[in-house]
Symmetry: C2
Amino acid sequence: MEVCFTPLPADFKDNLNKVYEAIEESDFLAIDGEFSGISDGPSVSALTNGFDTPEERYQKLKKHSMDFLLFQFGLCTFKYDHTEEKYIMKSFNFYIFPKPFNRSSPDVKFVCQSSSIDFLANQGFDFNKVFRNGIPYLNQEEERQLREQYDEKRSQANGAGSLAYFSPNATKCPVTIPEDQKKFIEKVVEQIEDLLKNEEKESLELEPCTGSEELNDAVGFSRVVHAIANSGKLVIGHNMLLDVMHTIHQFYCPLPDDLSEFKEVTSCVFPRLLDTKLMASTQPFKELINNTSLAELEKRLKEVPFSPPKVESAEGFPSYDTASEQLHEAGYDAYITGLCFISMANFLGSFLSPPKNHVSARSELIEPFFNKLFLMRVMDIPYLNLEGPDLQPKRDHVLHVTFPKEWKTSDLYQLFSAFGNIQVSWIDDTSAFVSLSQPEQVQIAVNTSRYAESYRIQTYAEYVEKKHEEKQAKRKCTEDSWKEMERKRLKTQGTPYVSPTRYYCVNSFTGTSTVGKRSMSPIQEETGSDDMEEGDGQDSEYDQTDYCVESLPDGKKRAKKFKKIKTEQVPAGSLTSSSTGIFEVPETW
Amino acid sequence: MEVCFTPLPADFKDNLNKVYEAIEESDFLAIDGEFSGISDGPSVSALTNGFDTPEERYQKLKKHSMDFLLFQFGLCTFKYDHTEEKYIMKSFNFYIFPKPFNRSSPDVKFVCQSSSIDFLANQGFDFNKVFRNGIPYLNQEEERQLREQYDEKRSQANGAGSLAYFSPNATKCPVTIPEDQKKFIEKVVEQIEDLLKNEEKESLELEPCTGSEELNDAVGFSRVVHAIANSGKLVIGHNMLLDVMHTIHQFYCPLPDDLSEFKEVTSCVFPRLLDTKLMASTQPFKELINNTSLAELEKRLKEVPFSPPKVESAEGFPSYDTASEQLHEAGYDAYITGLCFISMANFLGSFLSPPKNHVSARSELIEPFFNKLFLMRVMDIPYLNLEGPDLQPKRDHVLHVTFPKEWKTSDLYQLFSAFGNIQVSWIDDTSAFVSLSQPEQVQIAVNTSRYAESYRIQTYAEYVEKKHEEKQAKRKCTEDSWKEMERKRLKTQGTPYVSPTRYYCVNSFTGTSTVGKRSMSPIQEETGSDDMEEGDGQDSEYDQTDYCVESLPDGKKRAKKFKKIKTEQVPAGSLTSSSTGIFEVPETW
């Protein structure tokens, strides 16, 4: 069902040009990863607290998720055929394993989480393909070190003999060819003989003779990631923060300490990202899509007002059948992600006058969705903004409560029973955020608790300040490093930084709303209901634990007005930056 | 090739009685484990320093090896058929995986080491069987907790309705049967109806209605380990310290902090252990066996003066072909281990007069080898003694040296060039033990180094004392806890503690010898030679790293005298404890 590079590294090598070609010719790429685990640490509810700041979330994922292995990487390339008015798709499924390359290569240790492994096993995941035939990889530092080893070896081998290159007559003694270089030398000799025989040829391009063949084998799958990075193509993923973090961590460098540095690294590896889960959660899609899990989203986007995308697999490439639902093979998930993107992008074309059926990956219509990664289960910050500082929602209705570890959610409900509707977001055994429906209630709650002995209540602002004080010593000023990053970015890219053009009001998450779509249901958390909202990979694995679900209380759907865009001044499909400002993205939510 | 309980837990359940029966009828058992990794931590040379104390080695393995998963357990049972004069063998291969049992069951995380996984993959190990169909397990505490949950659930379900059992007329309202108990209730109703119909039957034995069926499923493979433990049978392994540690850690309890407590726990789980690697490394075998790796040992023991054992697989059980060498399937390795034991045990019979061809697992001839686990690559302590305090070799010829991290083995050779033959055992980047050939040289070396700035030399005794001082605060007195353990053991076992009968002088390791069989070759360590002495599972995995090998310098084999046992006073095959003392095992080596 897929072009699968599992049998042997040799197969991978032979097919690598196919992959390069597919990336190069594509309009956009979709990716997906499968991991040996999700969270190695606190309970998942603590890992994904509803009031995490983006910085906190990044730190948690970095600390508790990076010891797992990204062991399957799905890549799907999409190229638009203007004549046939359809996309041509090429799907690749890479099994990845850090097989020790030689005695001095790193002996990687990675963690497996039983629930994740069991989940993949139930999907028919082939672990033998990973461990027996997985493609190796090196990060950039490991590659550099190995390259140095080769260079050193070569210079030692050459020694005095290297003079021969400059003065052929000086030394004519035969040089012993090391066993591991014989094949390469033989090939070169053959090519030179061929050049001498062939009168038409005048020059010959030789491969660098640095043991680079072996080096390339060791760099392995990282070469594909480099090709993706260097292509500068738009890269699509669904709920892709962990995919991006793992990809960088495994194939580039250990994740940086600060979120701002992570954003900088990401902008180098993936200059243009689009998260379909974030796109589907944003206007104009939010109103039309109830469930943004990958499988459900794909189904929804086949129905009106959306249109199923026209996609065919390229000649010689096997096709996927969306009806048979092979979810959780990375290549298939990447394919479905691509389909979702196409449907949503094309839907945006319907707002143009005249409407357009096809909206390309280069269209400015989709730019507002660039470089914003969906933040799982954060109540009031929909995304991690890779292109600047993150949103800072008002949290003046939120309290931070500490209490004895025997307390349950019901105890908190009782404590705040005078304040009407509340929401509880557990931090750990002895603390939680409690959000009230009215900011005015906050001070009352704090005041009434002043003499309580078993619990302690402070405002969110007080909590943040204390935390900040604790960390001040060791933390750099994020603002400064952000500016520095911007400066570097402008310098290296050579193109002026243009803030993303904004067409749609993505203001659908509000910090003060307690009944919005992203509200949390602590009752369901308590009962551990099976009725999960999310169904896609990472989500459903999280959901195997006790994490609460997001649900929409009946009859409380907030009416939202979607403002239809007038684009009379702008030629269809070619909106320019002059349209910036038609819709404002507020700085806070 | 093996009875393999992989397809479904149901298969495991159905065949469990077969396993119980095989254990119960056997004369002895052989076991072997395959792990997802060996060492997660320092370099293996640091993990297995040649001058580790047993306590240090235990602590290192506990710290750096227990996060791996024992995911294949081989069990081979051997029963002697006196009529046919041969052993009947039953081999079992269990794939093990901590599949989460339900939402509240532990979500186990375990580490994989690439080199170990790659090693097993090359042996054709089937990872899909582990992860898709592995048998779950619980340790004793997890089992207790789950049992409590069931008991609580049951007492809640009974509630007031439980009165019905005592007074059938009082409450006649129908009771709702929970969905998960329907099958069980239906079965019981059927059995009762059957009893009422059948006039011959007078009583009916019902299964306990505690959800124990489900509980048994969750306890899973731990039931096999319990059966082994409860059988009290002799359990054989090859180089089995890690197998024993993992088995206890995974199926009984987290490993205790102190070695003495570990010995205590081990005596409960495995009251009688025998390590074939230790046996083969001890007189009278030591002189006859050059290579004690499992594969080589098995080959050697087929040749004179040994005899290949007569072993057949039981009816309905598949047989292994030792010629095809399926090493590293745990069941096969356990089988080979059993073969080695039989050959060696029978060889001991040749020293009796009249000689005996068959020496049973109950013979006192093998008692000297009981409960001594081989210590990998410790220079002067051959085994971990499970039945008492460990040997304390004199280390008055050993120096502890600290130096800059740039130093290599050659620097140490140069430093000690005046002292003739030395041996280097690396501890970490900046320290090593150096053993000199003469204890008298030690003080000279210390004195001459007094004013050195880049390095520091102290005697082994000084090093130990400093280390002891550092740890004194937090460490209990091992001697006291050992006495306490002995006291408890005598109390619980109800049988007097008999020190093992000693027939053979196992004094083949000497602390002062620098050219003995267990000497280390730092030169080979430096060059990373492929020529490894060890070839069996754990060993060869260690050997993939930079750990030095043990080799015997040519022409320096120390002549050892083997004292042939005179047993005229003792009836053949029935040596009694009166023979204790014929050969002394010295308290130090």
